[in-house]
Amino acid sequence: MADNSVRFSVNGQDLEAPAGEMLIAATDRAGIYVPRFCYHPKLSVAANCRMCLVDVAGAPKPMPACALPVAEGMEVETRSDRAIAAQRATMEFLLINHPLDCPVCDQGGECELQDLAMGFGRDISRFSEGKRAVPDPDLGPLVSTDMTRCIHCTRCIRFGEEVAGVQELGATGRSEHMEITTYVERSLKHELSGNVIDVCPVGALNNKPYRFNARAWEMSAHATVAPHDCVGSSLYAHVLRGRVRRIVPRENEAVNETWISDRDRFSCEGLYVRDRLQKPLVRRQGRLIETGWEEALEAAAAGLARVTEERGGQALGALASPSATVEEGSLLRKLMSALGSANVDHRLRQRDFRGTAPAGPAPWLGTRFSDVESLDSLLLVGSDLRSEAPILAHRVRKAAMAGARVSYLDLAEREYLHPIGTGSVQHPRDWARALGQLAGRALRGRRRALWLGGLAMRHPAYAELLEAAAEAAAGAVLGHVTQGGNGAGLHLAGVIPGEANGSGAAGVNAGQMSREALAGMVLMGMEPDLDCVGGAGYAMREADFVLVLNPWASPWLLGNADVVLPIATFLETPGTLVNGQMDWQTFAAAAPPPGLSRPAWKVLRALADCLGLDGFGFADTDQVLADLKQRIERAPAAADPTPRGAAIGSLALDDEDYAGLELPMYSVDGLVRRSAPLQQVAAMRRAA
């Protein structure tokens, strides 16, 4: 240990810890349990619940371990008579006003108060006076409130102030009249506000959509990975009787710490909705008819074969959701390649593809998430980061609060919850020109980064912007806030047109397919009218044959698809997502897909079989992944992706080309769009 460490003993066990560290952190590390409610390792010390009182030799009374800095020679007893008496007294005090409604409380079974009451509580109460009752504020569609259960630990308040960066909840009144509330009825607005559900040690703040759905001990927990942004937060899906009931964070210090965004937590509410497909659909005499898999796969294979025979493989195009797994992407690319098409893409909302070398390295953030916190300066170009990747925005906020200079070039003012170095709001047509000068002012210090966000990547003259950014970065890390949950992975899986998929032909990109659909289209996990640049929904109607693989039936898909194959969502398929810091995160299926729907990788494999194609004999997704990794190893070293000067040509753009660059947080993909509570929040945001 370092020189500034001190030695002390707890329950006779010798421990060592850095001077100044709170005792509870040291005992936690040593595996010595001290009961607590208000202490949380990611929040400031409040020391107001008094549950962690321990017996310190020489101290006149028990001391709270969460607020007691360790000192040389300190002798602590956590289980002595005096410590236990203090802890039991605190527990009795906390239970005075706590209702005994555990049987109807969603927290029951996973409640810190319940657990500690078992360990430290009496079996009968000596309190015969009336208990207080507290009105429940309406905090919006995500968080339910039962404030009579609150024990005033203030974790939720500290979470808002310290982590979210905006205090939405507070403690009004005092003593017996103290209430945790917003005071004026208002919904929680912050994109991380659902985390108060996890920090609340009792059943006061709970998951509203999950209310009365299941008991904690009935469910099985399945580790998985969030697909809605480039963070790829670690999650647990809690499953009961084959259905995902809720999502909770899985602690992963390197990715999401202990937090997840509301989008990752509540998107699962879009799983079992009315338009979830239960069976394959095939168009017969102009109408989509429910069928079994055999008939549907034959119809799909026949349609693809017909287009290939009549118009050649290059008349086929395929688009995949940017949140599709690398296995799904890899199989889709292989399928198209085998049919003679180089036209696959996942960059659905990108508008300008000039100069983007297909064999270029995959875009990524350029920085590990944890290193973001130690940046000296960061310039965000065209990024609504709080909406694109809330957890990443939290890392940036931490950096800014620690003194990093965070600047932005954007098309609108946004609410930043941290100090800003230089903020510049300009029409996107001026971004490339403004970038050089702005970067000079914004990027200072040793560790500098310039990130291109979603607005930048959707820019109609992205090539010029990318060139300007590469120049302006001048030694700073040039990173991309990759889109979808697997922007980097699908690039690596070759779900981009042209050389990278090995066919040698140039290939048609997503932008071209959105303007002028090919004769045959394969759409996987996406809805062209909502997921592509404007007009794609109209263009793709013109295709002779539209094969759809999607979990849901949207009006567009029902109106235009010839064959619809129902597939699993990320919670129902094994797969791998590559996040913005290039972690390959493989996960298993958490729940079975509903009805006859099947994981997309199996559907693609079966489709290849029906088409009589070789090389699809994969037994599981691990084999698909291994096959892809071999391909990546064989691929030549990536070329410099940055387009240069005249090579990219120039575009004449008018105002219309700049329309619709924004992508609202709760519109990013089909699952999020179908989550009723998230859509209620989105509607409230629009109304505000």
Partner: protein, 167 residues
């Protein structure tokens, strides 16, 4: 976070200036320390109580989230968050005053004014504040505080005279 100050504000210009002056006495980023002062100024200029809108303006002036202002306003008994009468009357009923007739004094005022503690008279003149804890005038028990003045050794007759003398 800070919006442009519109012309139509509830906080008088002088109060805004005083609040800024008060905030300036604390280190940068510690403007939360000025909330008490700011609320006192706001309440004085608003007939003795704080509306949500007024607290929002205080929050805006100090660049704080409104909830941090609500917390302080509801914590201290010196602040009223409901409309109350012009004159604030509180009778001490803590131990010394209780032994010397504080409770009888309070009951007398309640029946004379026709209101209970925590209520205001219909004419908006008198606010009989929730029973006050010790105001540190035990040597002159029973005592009552009217607006910010102490009255000691108060008899019911004297209390009547004091109340009558209020505007």
């Amino acid at each position: 976070m800070r919006r442009d100050v519109s012309d139509k504000t509830l906080l008088p210009v002088a109060a805004r200036a005083a609040i800024r002056e008060s905030a300036g006495r604390f280190p940068r980023g510690r403007q939360r320390s000025a909330v008490l002062d700011a609320l006192r100024l706001a309440q004085e200029g608003n007939g003795g109580w704080l509306s949500v809108e007024l607290m929002d303006e205080v929050a805006e002036e100090l660049e704080l989230p409104p909830i941090q202002v609500y917390e302080v306003a509801t914590f201290y008994s010196m602040f009223q968050v409901r409309p109350v009468g012009r004159h604030c009357v509180s009778v001490c009923t803590n131990i010394s005053c209780w032994l010397r007739g504080g409770e009888e004094l309070l009951q007398h005022l309640e029946s004379r004014l026709g209101i209970s503690v925590g209520e205001s008279t219909f004419d908006g003149r008198i606010f009989l504040k929730e029973e006050e804890e010790c105001l540190a005038a035990c040597t002159g028990a029973p005592m009552m505080m009217v607006d910010h003045s102490y009255h000691e050794n108060v008899t019911p007759e004297e209390a009547d005279r004091i109340i009558e003398g209020l505007g």
